[in-house]
Amino acid sequence: MSTTLPARLSSADARHLLGRTGFMPSPAEVSAWVGLAPADAVDRLLTGARRSTPRHAAPAFTREPIRTPYGRLPDEDARRAARQQARADIVSLAAWWLQEMRESPAPLAERMTLFWHNHFATSMQKVQQAQGMFVQHQLLRQHALGSFRELLHGVARDPAMLVYLDGAANRVEAPNENFAREVMELFTLGEGHYVEQDIREAARAFSGWTVNREEWTAQFRPRLHDNGEKTLLGRRGRFDAGAALDVMLDQAAAPAFIVGKLWREFVSPTPDAAAVEPIAQRFRSSGWRIDAAVRELLLSDAFWAPANRAVLVKSPVELAIGALRQFEIQLDSALPLVAVTSRQGQMLFDPPNVKGWPGYTAWITSTSLLDRKRFTERLFRALEAGDEGAMMNANASPMVRELMQEARARERRALRQARMEAPAGQSFGMRFDAESWLKPLGASPDREPDGAAREKLVEAVLSAPPVQPVPAGTVGLSYLRALSLDPVYQLK
């Protein structure tokens, strides 16, 4: 059988690999990967991601003493102030993460952390503890490409998850099945691979964990734990939480479930069961190494098949970060992006429910689509209005100012909708060096691109040929804006 794996990466191949495993790459980023053998490229990606650490310190609140729980505060005024603080904290945490995504030299590390945030979806709305959301974030980041088994065990003892799925309220005399149900349905096995009785038995195994909210630690209290014998997924034993998780991982459905989800993230919306199976087996035999599964997927024929290119939809985070990375636009603060992505349906640390963001075509609604288009349109209008080819600054151009005012207004609206307060005193500088971005592609800000340059621009901006031809006479930056408004720009 002939393989679709290229011997050496062309620039289109490199863009496909980088766009799928990170955010949309700039032409300069792409050129550094052209000519590599796929296996070398994938290994380089994985090594970089495993070694990656954040470039900026997380917001200061993450290092402060754990906040007093609302319930222990003296009065409603104190509670209201604490809620406002928590909302501001989570916005600054989301902005910090977006900034990491924008600047990371190993974007796969950020994408995998985001993948697990969506898989083990936990929302600030219920956890109400921004510091706790950061504790969970670090756990996801730490294991993002490591052992899925360790990650799963860590998540089950993570205070935010214990609060979010009521694990902290699960005790022998009052079982709570919330976590037991979701861990099988959404985290390990998928529907149809367990019965209601398994949920009741697993809930008994998970009982006894509580959260010390003063220290934000998980604590096991043997007296609240159901120590009796359980029958879980056909096995009998005095399972505790860890043992119950391992029983789940022993199911044949487990590795295939995770690999199938990784497939939908990186390869296509429709996993091929025959291709998933051997990857799932190696995933398990590798000791649940996530990097091993990702490596297999990225070196599969399906990943490189022409039919599977440009078949996935960019999430709002991918769209925003992708645009900034692709065009090498610098932004002093990622705060406006919190509002932008939130409006488009993806507020970090606030997934809609335990299933996470539904993703794929659900990202594109009439509402979100207009907003997505408006985002790039305004970005380019603002850039176009500045001095052609010059370094641009938010203070230099009225259009840029307008964009930023718009971003601030949007942000305030989004924050208000989420009942959050905007941190004061932020300024948002935006810079784009159009001349040096366009020049290597044979284009210039003040000329209509010729045939060869047009091809290069299309290839640099879109993962498939445009659906709508760019009108003749379109010049420089307007050309990029037109391409960003093409329906294909929504795809990766």
Binding site: S123, P269, V311, I364, S366, E377, Q468, V488
Partner: protein, 385 residues
């Protein structure tokens, strides 16, 4: 076989055709959903002023018997709702009591999702109930400009999954839609989806474009009043075009954990002013007789007030149905028993909110309610049609 024979046969073999028949007369009907965001306090909206327990539960929040606008010997409206009284007297306002659902969820987010998707408390659905009504026959029976418009909130709520859009004002929306151009391309499923949504946006923008309608009606300057103005303008501008069958408006936040009295009075005043303006605007547009207005909220609030002069998250609540076609001036259903609260000290619902939706599906739209509310629910007698 002609159509008449087919229908006669269908009467026996396909009872669904009965709905299809009434669907024809449903053309041009408008449903306005008004979401009272944050959980409206039902007990201080439709007040059981004569019940001794009411005042006991709410030492400082209880409204006095001589303050409320009496509907009957047991219930009265919050005094801020005075602008609704003319509609009550004209029999264009119905009060539905005790709406809720089993195993109530006290999370704002999850509970409104349950209301929006008409799901059970234990199931997660992606599509709103309006979208399911579209699939159940409403889409085929009418040619809509767009299937729903959410005004003032990006979230489509009950309209999710329908060919619906959200906007703040129609002119701005039409203006934004200029970023889109019609395309006749084909491609993979994801691209097809984007193209389908684009064409929906363009279609909606086409329907909404045109001469701005000047309304003689005065609309309140507050956000809700302006959303009402946008609704009336769209309905007025759409005469004879198939139009927009469903609007989703939001008002609030009604999340009154603290110092409820003044906040709630103000919110209800704005609500009543907005609804009165809606009636006036739609009468001017000649559409009031074919409009149904329904309020809803994720939950009511705790029966007993808390220590901060507010109320915490609760369960069942009354809601309003208004319009030129309602059988109004009546209270439908049973007030939840103030002396028998549930385990979380909350009211126990006496009617399922899905009865409301089933009634709209069947009586307003003429579609089979079962796929809409995913089950069989008794209808509520609030419509003449």
């Amino acid at each position: 076989m002609d159509r008449r024979q087919l229908l006669a046969l269908g009467g026996l073999a396909f009872p669904a055709l009965g709905w299809a028949q009434s669907a024809a007369s449903a053309a041009g009907r408008v449903l306005v959903l008004v979401e009272l965001k944050g959980g409206n306090d039902g007990l201080n909206t439709v007040v059981p002023y004569a019940h001794p327990t009411y005042a006991q539960l709410r030492p400082s929040l209880a409204l006095k018997a001589d303050e409320v606008l009496r509907l009957d010997g047991a219930l009265g409206l919050h005094p801020s709702l005075a602008p609704l009284i003319p509609m009550w007297e004209k029999r264009e306002l119905v009060v539905l009591l005790g709406l809720g659902y089993p195993q109530p969820n006290l999370s704002h987010f999850r509970s409104i999702e349950i209301w929006d998707t008409a799901s059970r408390a234990t199931e997660y659905l992606d599509e709103g109930w309006v979208a399911r009504a579209m699939s159940a026959g409403l889409r085929q029976s009418q040619r809509h400009t767009t299937e729903g418009v959410a005004i003032g909130s990006a979230s489509l709520g009950a309209l999710s999954g329908a060919n619906a859009i959200s906007l703040t004002n129609a002119e701005a929306y039409v203006n934004q839609a200029r970023l889109l151009r019609p395309a006749n391309a084909q491609g993979n499923a994801a691209l097809e989806h984007v193209l389908r949504v684009e064409s929906g946006v363009l279609q909606a923008a086409d329907g909404l474009r045109g001469q701005a309608v000047t309304m003689a009606t005065e609309f309140p300057p507050h956000t809700f009043g302006q959303a009402v103005r946008a609704t009336c303008q769209i309905v007025a501008g759409q005469k004879g075009r198939g139009g927009v069958p469903v609007f989703h408006l939001t008002h609030g936040s009604f999340d009154t954990h603290r110092g409820q009295l003044g906040t709630h009075a103000n919110l209800l005043k704005q609500l009543a002013e907005g609804l009165a303006a809606l009636k006036a605007g739609l009468e001017q547009a000649g559409a009031w007789e074919r409009t149904l207005v329904v309020t809803y909220s994720e939950f009511g609030r705790r029966a007993r007030q808390n220590q901060s002069g507010g109320t915490d998250h609760g369960t069942a609540a009354p809601h309003f149905v208004l319009g030129g076609a309602v059988k109004g001036g009546t209270v439908i259903g049973t007030m939840p028993d103030l002396d028998r609260l549930d385990g979380s000290q909350n009211l126990v619902h006496t009617a399922d909110f899905r009865q409301l939706y089933a009634t709209i599906a069947r009586r307003w739209w003429g579609v089979n309610p079962e796929p809409v509310v995913r089950g069989t629910f008794d209808l509520l007698p609030f419509l003449e049609v």
